[in-house]
């Protein structure tokens, strides 16, 4: 932790960055004696405040979302250094790959990660029940894309098969059963678009859901419109989704959006041999045209 704070302080003091985006404890404003109530994103602009920064298993938020060009209020502050877990760095790579961010415009502080909790108010200890679904089978505990890397590698998180099991069960269902499951789940959607707003990879200047000439999607929260919205988003995220599960965390209705994203990612991996990569120079299937792409479904 000291290493992280020292680094943040020196980056701010030297003027290499104007703001360090990391995590801080939520505390003292309410019940001081209860201790911190989780962590939240922190925006440190003053070197003297660098000691606010923390990193541990509670830091589930994907801070790459703040590099999304839609966050204009942050662009205005100036160059940023961002604390990224290995998995979050894949979202940064995605933004760079898709021309939303220049790699040299951001300093990445990679942190070695031992898994995170489902919800930032849990932890810091990791139990089978608390560990985030995104940590199952993680290959990015050691950051691959960074300018600085801090901390020692913590022990691996408890292996959770919760989501793999749920997905396997879903994939084993008949089409009718699966349709029932998704119809029930998606009928709860209220179309608040929190999933889109919180997503690091959703950066369209005008989302298809907001277009009304022509209106592609039924915009009111009917099952028909909801299914259209979530399927459209899932396909637009194919091979781009970094599986950070922020959408699932933000959803006020608890719709298991992560299952949808994970399934699409598996299909992309199977068909194109591609998994959302931490290397921004590796092209993603949705962004390239190859003459040898399989296209048996067209004929």
């Amino acid at each position: 932790m000291n290493e992280l704070r020292e680094l943040a302080r020196s980056l701010l003091t030297s003027g290499s960055v104007k703001v360090v985006i990391g995590y801080e404890n939520v505390e003292a404003t309410r019940w001081p004696e209860e201790g911190p109530r989780g962590v939240r994103p922190s925006f440190v602009t003053d070197p003297a405040q660098a000691d606010r920064l923390v990193f541990d298993a509670r830091c589930v938020q994907n801070l790459a979302a703040y590099l999304n060009p839609r966050r204009q209020h942050l662009v205005g502050i100036g160059k940023a250094a961002v604390v990224v877990k290995g998995c979050d760095a894949r979202a940064v790579a995605g933004l760079v790959r898709e021309g939303q961010l220049r790699r040299e415009d951001v300093i990445l502080i990679g942190v070695r990660c031992g898994g995170v909790v489902r919800d930032p108010t849990l932890g810091p200890g990791l139990t089978d029940e608390d560990v985030s679904d995104r940590c199952g089978g993680c290959e990015d505990r050691e950051p691959k894309l960074f300018d600085h890397v801090v901390g020692a590698l913590p022990p691996p998180p408890p292996s959770s098969t919760r989501r793999a099991d749920a997905l396997a069960r879903l994939q084993k269902m008949t089409a009718v059963e699966r349709w029932t499951f998704w119809k029930e789940s998606l009928s709860r959607c209220v179309r608040c678009y929190a999933c889109r707003e919180i997503c690091p990879m959703c950066f369209c200047v005008q989302c298809i859901a907001d277009k009304n000439r022509p209106q592609w999607l039924d915009s009111s929260p009917t099952t028909r419109g909801n299914v259209a919205w979530h399927m459209t988003r899932a396909l637009h995220q194919a091979g781009r989704c970094v599986d950070c599960l922020e959408c699932e965390r933000a959803c006020p209705e608890g719709i298991p959006l992560g299952l949808l994203g994970r399934h699409v990612a598996q299909v992309v991996e199977r068909r194109f041999g591609y998994r959302a990569s931490a290397d921004p120079t590796v092209p993603a299937p949705l962004g390239v045209y190859r003459t040898d792409d399989e296209e048996e479904f067209i004929v």
Binding site: F181, C192, P252
Partner: protein, 423 residues
Amino acid sequence: MTRAILTESDVAKLVADLVGAGTRVIAPVPAGPDWEQTEYRPIERLEEAVLDGPLPRRSLKEFFRPSQRQDDGSALPPQVILGARPCDAAGAETLDNVMGWDYRDELWRARRVATTVVSIACRRVESSCFCGALGIGPDSTRGADAILVPLDLTAGPPPSRRRITEQLRRCVDMFLIDSQPFPGAAELQIADEVASAQPRSAMRWAARAVTLKGAALLRGRGAPFTDPADLDRAGTVVRTARDLVAKNVDTLRLRRRRARLDREAEARLGLMAADGGELIDGSAGFEASGVTRLPEWLAQNHDHELWKTLSPRCRSCGNCSAVCSTSPCFDVDEHDAEARRRRAAKPATDGGRGAARAPRPMQTEQFRQRVMHKFSIHPRRFHEVLCTGCGRCSRACEGGMNLPEILGRLVQLAEPEPGRIAT
């Protein structure tokens, strides 16, 4: 007005009678991934409800203005909301102003008329509660037709009890179609059994009607209010909750002087019931002391430097507005010659594109609008803030935005400490 002492069996009978007569009864029921949260839902029997659980996840507004599907308002069954939080009851009444203002919203009004709100004074105060800063309190009767005050601080089920009602179990089974038990079912079952096996004393409430609707509901229910010790019990519960709220408000620096219930008010509490008057005075001990100058200050400081620094972590997901007990925002979707209302936070997000593009593209501007609407624009028109201090926005925020924390900073600017100059 009608006053009575109600036991759990009285309330259970009330629910059964209402449901039997075709009334929709809505109460907090277990919800959320661990069933440890609650939300307002229709119930059939009292056992489904958790009257003393944590603050329900969403406010009551969806029962007056359903958030989805078309809103034809034709066959409206009478509905009773049992166990509403005082902040939610007050929130619905606050919204009446907007819904009956230049355009009188008949659908909202029809639902308000068809609904009886029975609120329950809070025994538990969450760390995000700050109602005391806004002129209401944990036993406020604003917007309620009747209020129940618990007579014991500890009676009833243990607060962290996990339980699954039949209804929820059915719901879970439906989702996992292959009828495998859902993860953790066994543990929950055990926790449920352990909790039910624990000795517990039955809950009792002092009930008081606030309106004629409330009086009609309570008429002939429970036992008459005879034992003076019950008054002390109710007073203890109310004072404890008010002290907890006052502590929150002070920690948040939402006002400078601690307006605790003073001796005189305490004595009045006793006197009032003894001489046949009100049992509990809805908002004694709380004044909207912290926010009196805020509307004016905000109006004059639209371009204050502070706004640029207040909301860096906001990602515009709109959950704050969705769970808000007083946010009136909605969208209208027109489809197939029908207009449907959809709960929305469009003024807070970068959507809201009508003829023009997004009016407030930056998060900082969106957040400023949220604060301005609640604490300046609305108060200057209706003479009350558009917030009841339920604290849901800070609980629901994925980015950790904390409205009361920010409000505390603004209040300190608007009403500086003596000897300090406002900046």
